[in-house]
Every structure is written in C-alpha cells, then in structure tokens.
Subunit: 241 residues, 2 copies
C-alpha cells in the first residue's frame, strides 16, 4: 500500500534541511518570469532566459522547481497575490462583482495568465485567498456546497471566456506586426471575400454593421452586461437582495 502523495510546489519545503543555503528563492524566479512574460509574452519565458536574467546556470532552476510547469504555477499564484481580496461586504452581488472585475483586470494586466491558469490548477496562497473570498459571498444564504461552487464556477467561466476572446483578438493583431487599424483593414480584406462569397449573409451583415470591433469600449460594455446577466440568473436561487 504505497502512499499516494500530491506533488505540488506548495507541498514541498522551500529549502532542503541539510545542504548549503540556496542563493535564491522560488519567489525570485517567479517574479522575474512574470516580468519577462508581461513585456515579451509567455513564450519568452524559457528556463535558460529566466536563469540568465537571475544570473544563474539554467540547470540551477531545477533545484527550485521540478518541471517548467511548476514555474508557471508560481507565476499564476504570484499575480493572484498582487491584490488581496477586500473584506466581505455582506452583499453577495457586490462581492461577486468584485471577483469578476478583479479577475478580468488581473487577466488583462497579464495576458498570459488565463492561458496558464486554465491548463493547470494552482492552489497557492494567492489563489486560495480569492477562492475563500468568492465562496464567502454566499455566507448567510442557505445554499448547498454544490450550488455555491456552481455559481462561482459559472461566473469565473464567463470571465475566463470573455477575457480570452478579447485577448485573442488583440494578440492576433499584435502578432501580425501591424497596428490595430492596419489589422482591421487587413481583416476586412479577408472579410470582403466572406461577404463577397454570399454564403454567410448574416456574418457579412454583422461585420459591416457591428461597431464592436471598431469600438475599444465594446469589450468593457459586453463584459458588464454579461456579468449582470449571470448575477441575475443566480438571484432566483439566492433569494432576496
């Protein structure tokens, strides 16, 4: 009967009990990684690059982290910890709005965040604090554990998806090396083919009429609306206020 042991960064001691003092910390590597990812994209975060930036041999990183994934986990939790959740207000709608808006803000500040956090589940102190806050929104309302989890999951799912859509569009234009206007124009050239083909009349109409892609505030508004819509959906279950 072998003991099954979870192997997360968080459940391993920060340093061994026996050997020489580590010259750096997990946090330091995480911070440097976040900095690189913010300014040059997540793909620029390579073991060698991070090592170089910290001033250490590439192989040294593996004394702090088992695999590159764990470095990602540290990055994710670090940005969750950037902003600690506030005190619970006592109004579930208010608190869930905070969860949603803060999550979106966080994801837009660090465009690599959503991609990483949806590929692995990081349960570090930073993320846990926010989970605690989100669940706390329903304190005093008689919801089952499953109902609470489903509600929070629904909200987060929307935020995740919405942000991914927005980032995807922005990065598609960034990657092409064009500025936003040029990209829109290039897009519309391809759009002409779609419109011209006559096979997708509704898509064609919306591409012409919708202000969405041209209006930088569109993402904000559609986010606001979506959040309120989802909160509306919960209110029947939660009861008053």
């Amino acid at each position: 009967m072998t003991e099954i042991r979870a192997d997360f960064v968080w459940s391993r001691p920060a340093r061994g009990a026996r050997g020489p003092k580590p010259t750096h910390t997990r946090d330091e590597f995480a911070q440097v990684s976040v900095q690189i990812a913010d300014s040059e994209g997540i793909d620029a975060v390579s073991i060698r690059r991070v090592a170089q930036e910290v001033g250490v041999a590439p192989a040294a990183l593996y004394r702090y982290v088992r695999r590159k994934d764990e470095l990602h986990d540290l990055m994710v939790d670090l940005v969750f910890a950037e902003q600690a959740p506030p005190e619970l207000s006592g109004h579930w709608r208010t608190d869930l709005r905070v969860v949603a808006y803060e999550a979106r803000h966080r994801a837009l500040r660090h465009p690599w965040l959503t991609t990483l956090s949806t590929q692995r589940i990081a349960l570090g102190p930073g993320s846990l604090a926010w989970m605690e806050f989100a669940f706390g929104a329903f304190d005093g309302h008689e919801l089952t554990a499953d109902e609470i989890m489903t509600n929070v999951q629904t909200l987060i799912a929307f935020v995740t998806g919405h942000v991914l859509g927005q980032i995807g569009e922005e990065q598609a234009s960034a990657r092409s090396g064009m500025n936003h206007d040029e990209w829109l124009q290039a897009m519309s050239v391809h759009g002409e083919e779609i419109i011209g083909s006559g096979r997708y009349p509704r898509v064609a109409r919306l591409m012409v009429e919708a202000a969405g892609p041209h209006d930088p505030d569109h993402a904000d508004h559609s986010f606001d609306l979506g959040v309120e819509r989802i909160l509306d959906g919960m209110s029947a279950m939660v009861g008053a206020r």
Copy 2:
C-alpha cells in the same frame, strides 16, 4: 501606398497555378494532425511528427502552410466542419442551446480545441457556418448588430470557460499518470494541508461537502444551469418567446 493584404490560409489558393501537382492536400495534413492531437495531446503535433506520419519530409509542410500556426487553424476549422449546424428552428432559445451544447461537445471530443481557438481566430468555412447559424438565431427579433454579437459572445465565453475548467481538471489528473481516483486522493492530501492550515475555512468546508469533484455528472449539470441562466439574461432583451 502599399496594399495591406490579410495573410490567412483561407485566402491563399490551395495550389500554385504553375508547378507540379502537390502530392498531398492541406486537409490531409489537418486530418493527421487532429488524429495525433486527439490521441497524444496537442504537444505531440510537431511539424516533424506530422510529416513523418504522412510520409513526407518535414520541410514539405511549408509548401502547404506558412507557419505552424496555420496548421492549427486548419485543425480548428476541420473539427468545426465535423458537424454542420442544423436548420434554424425559429426559436432563438432552442438554437442558442444547440450552439452551446454542440460547442461543448466539440471541445470535449477534442480537448486541444479550446486552447487553440482562443489563441487565434480561424475564419474557415467550418467555423463560419456555425457563426452564421448562431447569428441566425435572432432573425426576426429587432436586435442591433452589437446586441447580437454581444449575446453570442457571452454564450460562447461561458462555454469556453466552463469547458476549460473541466478539461483542466481532467488533464491535471491525466498528466500526473494517475487514474482519476488516485488523483483525487492525492489532491485530498494536499487538501488536508489546506484544511489543516485553518486559513481557508470556506474552501475547506466546500472541499469536504461538495459532491462536485466526486460526481462525474456534476460538470454536465453545472453546464446546463449556466446556459439557462445566460439565456434567461438575454430574454429580457429579445422580448417574447
């Protein structure tokens, strides 16, 4: 005044007008790629691997595709085309439900799909057909182009986020090489630390009480609920039925 030209796979001719016949097709490479990704994960889809599987030199792929990203675009559109949208029913709720459920089904069948499709925007015939269908759901209702796009975007955002959450959990256990039960147990060992720490009482309570993680149907139910909730939110805007 240089002409800005969109450079998508879809707007380039399938073969040159002059030279020898290509021995393969874009579709063939896409099919092989999908097969590899389905059975071994998206990371197994390398230029060299796909080339080998098709029986061709690695460099040959670049006659069909400018960069690896375009191969991904082809993969995405291929699985959208697996199932063509049905005829519009005339009931917007019914049709949007089809959009949501089919999108989820598609994403669960091909766990790599969501990751890819959120990183690039692929506007091939397969995806366009579904866009056309989704927009068509609001035919006859007096919505602005922006309202239609926002509604569809909200729904897709939720599906995306929800599926990503589900897949993330499944893959976390798959990657660890444990079966699902073992992983749950390993998770719970880490959970003990969280519960034991006393710092996250609500998280601790939900980890114990929620049937979610243990119930394989939980994801389905929470998806159903989420979709209905979002459709509820739209109904005020759409009006009757």
